[in-house]
């Protein structure tokens, strides 16, 4: 195996990792800020891909332009979901959120099945699937777009978290909830905004993975597992950690696929997560951002 082939694998892993991180950011936000496990995270991501599919079948535009509608739509879905359903569940305890979102995930899957059948879909057009070459490395353009989008979204989230009053409030609530209330922050108002933000990011993830791979109504839980992996690998409460966690998972996925075949990719990835969790139980970056 020549150096060009190795480089191709590594870059492919990195780009895939960027997409995985994109799938993880929203999960990182709901877990780190709202402290709830959204089991329907992957299904909501796939929902965004289907919303984009509908948009693209109505207006035949460049796939990524559908984000202009999908992102605000998913922000609204996230806001309403938290405001109407999850805030109430949260008041009874975190395990109620797991039950409610588990049911929500099944409902979304079945709704998508009724509306779109179980056929494989993709948002990609010829242009996005064209190969590009970076030096000796040959890859489809869409994977480079995935990685670039992941970096841009990370930077935007860091900006919001670090330099806006809303971002400060989002980090303050999990850090010390009683104190947050005393200075006039209402967590029950912050949570829907955080969930809206998480789902807006999830829309980007859904549209990009729908442009990179095929999707079908029941594929959501696979991406939920990936999102979960990036977040616990990177460390709870650190978006940069989620990004790094995504890169690790992407590399392991691609390299293990090359070495042992596709059957063992997921297992290899889970083993690496397990090993890192044993060595550093709080993840690679020990959660400092939120």
């Amino acid at each position: 195996m020549g150096p060009a082939a190795v480089a191709t694998l590594l870059v492919q892993g990195m780009f895939l990792g960027g997409l995985y991180a994109l799938a993880g950011y929203g999960f990182s936000i709901s877990l780190g800020i709202i402290r709830e496990i959204n089991v329907a995270h992957g299904d909501l991501m796939i929902l965004a891909a289907y919303i984009s599919l509908v948009v693209l079948s109505t207006w035949r535009v460049f796939p990524l332009l559908s984000l202009l509608l999908t992102v605000p739509a998913m922000f609204t879905v996230g806001w309403l979901l938290q405001r109407l359903l999850l805030n109430r569940a949260l008041r009874r305890g975190p395990s109620h959120v797991v039950v409610v979102t588990f049911a929500l995930g099944i409902a979304i899957e079945n709704l998508l099945l009724i509306l779109f059948s179980y056929n494989n879909r993709t948002l990609a057009t010829g242009y996005l699937l064209q190969g590009i070459s970076l030096g000796a490395v040959q890859l489809p353009l869409v994977m480079a777009v995935d990685f670039a989008a992941s970096v841009v979204v990370l930077a935007a989230l860091q900006l919001i978290m670090g330099h806006t009053m809303l971002g400060r409030a989002m980090r303050a609530v999990p850090a010390n909830e009683p104190a947050a209330r005393i200075i006039g922050i209402r967590p029950e108002r912050i949570y829907p905004l955080a969930m809206g933000l998480a789902m807006a990011v999830n829309a980007v993830a859904g549209v990009l993975l729908g442009s990179t791979f095929v999707f079908y109504p029941s594929v959501g839980p696979d991406y939920m597992l990936i999102a979960f992996g990036t977040v616990i690998l990177g460390g709870l409460g650190s978006l940069l950690g989620t990004f790094i966690g995504g890169l690790v998972m992407g590399e392991v996925f691609v390299l293990s696929g090359y070495m042992f075949g596709a059957t063992y990719q997921m297992m290899a990835t889970l083993i690496v997560i397990f090993v890192i969790m044993v060595l550093s139980p709080r993840g690679i970056l020990r959660g400092e951002i939120f």
Binding site: R168, N176, P178, I182, I183, I185
Partner: protein, 234 residues
Amino acid sequence: MLLALKSVEAGYGDLRVLRDVSMDVGEGELVALIGPNGAGKSTLFKVICGVIKPDSGRIYFMGRDITGLPPERICRMGIALVPEGRGLFPNLSVRDNLELGLYGIPRAPVKERLDFVYSIFPVLRERSRQRAGSLSGGEQQMLAVGRALMGAPRLLILDEPSSGLAPIVVDRLYESVRKLTDRMSIIIGEQNIKRPTSIAHRWYVIENGRIVMEGSAKRPAKDLQTAYFGVGTD
């Protein structure tokens, strides 16, 4: 009167903590609230700030009835609480903690307020990029007071600011607080008598949720100590 409490009763669920509490704070006045462990000081402060709703009685601030208003409204009207245990966000930077003191106050002059706080506690400027959790106990207390000052409150409430601090640090903190009285009214809640009463214009003693004694700077702390031997002095 800036703040007036009229027969306030409050508690947690069925547990009634405050009973028939009435107290006043005038403009520019520094008032000490003295009481032993579990007397109800923190509960009273939480009631004033709207975190706990009183079961009965009324609270007036600047002549307006604020009973039952939510905390964010009361904050915006100009009451800032430095809670017991300081209430900082340890993983956020000193600067972020300070800026959060302006939460819900749109178009506040951020730079000006930061400069004001830094002028009172210069060490916070040096530490502005550091995590709040990495500060010393005294610096953390300064940060907590600084954050409350960011919103330029009319009434500043300090709940046991001296707890966990070395006496010399407490002296410096009290000196800074005393200087603030030309800008705002202040309530200090403490367990010990000597220090708060030495700078307060007036004081109240609370025991088992009732105001059992009150007096002014003219009634010396010694007098208070003899009456109030249930608690140690400092």
